[in-house]
Subunit: 332 residues, 2 copies
């Protein structure tokens, strides 16, 4: 018997277990021509999935109720009627939260277990790395010597953004929620400075201290009061990459912040929403660069691996408590 | 005796007469080599001057206390020891609020009273026109068939933005504060639709009705709740030009709005602060285009002319009550 996780109801505020439903089904799979049978190996859980669980207008259609949830998955080919894939191949793609599934080959990418650990293809060599690299370079347009601030810095994307910032010659300041995370940013990932937003009594002032020349680039994963504090420190011609707003994803009332408009006009600053899928034509170049840096050990990464298919919803919910360090992945 | 208007104190909230001081001085002017004596003819009063009256960090230094206020002025050359100017010439430049003044020729531009009314050089052929044209084209990057929303649409910049939008083939919707202004937008300036924010009970819904295909470009002169309502209607890849935030210039507490970040990320949208002086190298091309359209009668403009040097502060204060239609100018 194989398992599937459905979206049972749209979360109100913070997602909870009752929003998900587990169903089991027979494991008697029949392949048509062109199809492959996949066994799930690693499942990526990501904050952006919260958006697809709502039915608000967005850049991707919402998940349907009583249908499987989908996310980035690395799977093993078990059976194949598609000449592009052999049994034993590993592939990554946007797949359903199922222990096994039959799909056409469309959108599947073969991944090489010898070149990097398979989970890396969901992280630093997957959407996470592409998001960090392309967001920072395409919108941030960094110049050596500038100052970069990253919020959600200990998260999957944030920790890669900071490292790329260092490679490109920036002063890098990370904002995260525990002293342990701050130590990791400075120790493991080479950030120049870190601010713990839970213990800081004045993020704005602490940032002014750590960014004496002001902030040129802000890679924003969180929104909310942390981003408000950064605005006070931006320089003329600052670039703000809005990659996520995890702090407000679960709000049921419309979140309020300080008005950004006066800050943008005073500083001729730019704020742009970033969605990695808009930059598909840059993926090959970005993947090449990330693989090189990874091979040269200029980039490293952290994963929080949770074991067991049944723990997928919990791992997802834990994202909003900041329980992950780096990329949150479920090993099936 | 000649008059000068000084900044006596920095306004708290809305500016008032007590923030300004009139002084008189002898009219015995002595010119050094390279200098000209100017007599003020037209004075531009603009919302952005409010920013320079505060001492907050901004893109231009604040006005100094007990020093003359400066703005765009058209003046007549009365006496000259500068070979570039003859007595009787008209010039425009950033000059002091004085009935007469001695300056070097630096930064002065000769203007031609035969080609356009002199006041136009403070408006449609001055910073106003350049701001409208360059903000819309450089950040807005309009494509025929798209939908443009303009706030502060009956103001100096807004009314030009809307007309340029129509020339470039956009659907143009203006937001303004009286039915009379809305009639002017649709009648005189050719806007497709207008929304009166004072009588609308739901700007967001009214805008959805007038922009059935969503909003691709938002030229924002006001900020605040009007801009919040526009955000709900933006399309994927929308461009938002932050040209001003008149609704919050006088706030003494930090203004709050809905958080823009989730809207920007959901729509891969861009929001950028626009300051015309950053685009100096584009001025000649822009002036050429604006002059052509004006000559072809594709562009028209409205001025609110107030008479008398002594009325400069009042005219400025009236901007924040929306008492002007189009460019507010004082004739001395």
């Amino acid at each position: 018997m194989e398992k599937t996780i459905l979206l049972k109801q749209r979360p109100e505020g913070k997602p909870s277990m009752s929003d998900f439903e587990f169903v089991t089904e027979d494991s008697d799979f029949k392949l048509s021509e062109g199809e492959v049978l996949l066994e799930t190996v690693y499942v990526s859980v990501d904050p952006y999935l919260r958006g697809r669980m709502s039915d608000a207008k967005s850049y991707v259609p919402p998940f349907e109720l009583n249908k499987p949830i989908q996310s980035g998955i690395v799977a093993k080919v078990i059976e194949t009627k598609n000449r592009n894939f052999e049994a034993g191949d590993f592939v990554s793609g946007l797949l359903s939260w199922k222990t096994k599934q039959v799909v056409t080959g469309e959108g599947l990418v073969k991944v090489d277990a010898d070149k990097a650990p398979l989970s890396a293809y969901l992280g630093i060599l997957g959407m996470t790395g592409l998001t960090a690299y392309l967001g920072l370079t395409q919108i941030g347009k960094p110049k050596a010597g500038e100052t970069l601030v990253v919020s959600g810095a200990a998260g999957a994307v944030g920790s890669v953004v900071g490292q790329i910032g260092k490679i490109l010659g920036l002063r890098v300041i990370g904002i995260a929620g525990t002293d342990e995370k701050i130590d990791m940013l400075k120790g493991k990932f080479g950030f120049d400075a870190g601010i713990n937003y839970n213990t800081s009594t004045d993020i704005k002032a602490d940032l002014a201290k750590e960014a004496p020349n002001g902030v040129d680039i802000y890679f924003d994963n969180v929104g909310g009061p942390i981003s408000d504090a950064v605005l006070f420190n931006i320089n003329r011609f600052a670039r703000i990459i809005i990659c996520g707003a995890i702090s407000v994803y679960n709000e049921t009332e419309l979140p309020k912040s300080i008005s950004v408009q006066p800050f943008l006009v005073k500083n001729s600053a730019l704020m742009q929403g970033f969605i990695v899928s808009n930059y598909g034509e840059k993926f090959p170049e970005a993947m090449k660069q990330l693989s090189e840096w990874l091979a040269e050990k200029k980039l490293t990464y952290t994963e929080t691996i949770v074991d067991g298919f049944d723990n997928i919803p919990n791992a997802f919910i834990d994202l909003f408590e900041g329980k992950n360090k780096g990329k949150m992945i479920v090993r099936v």
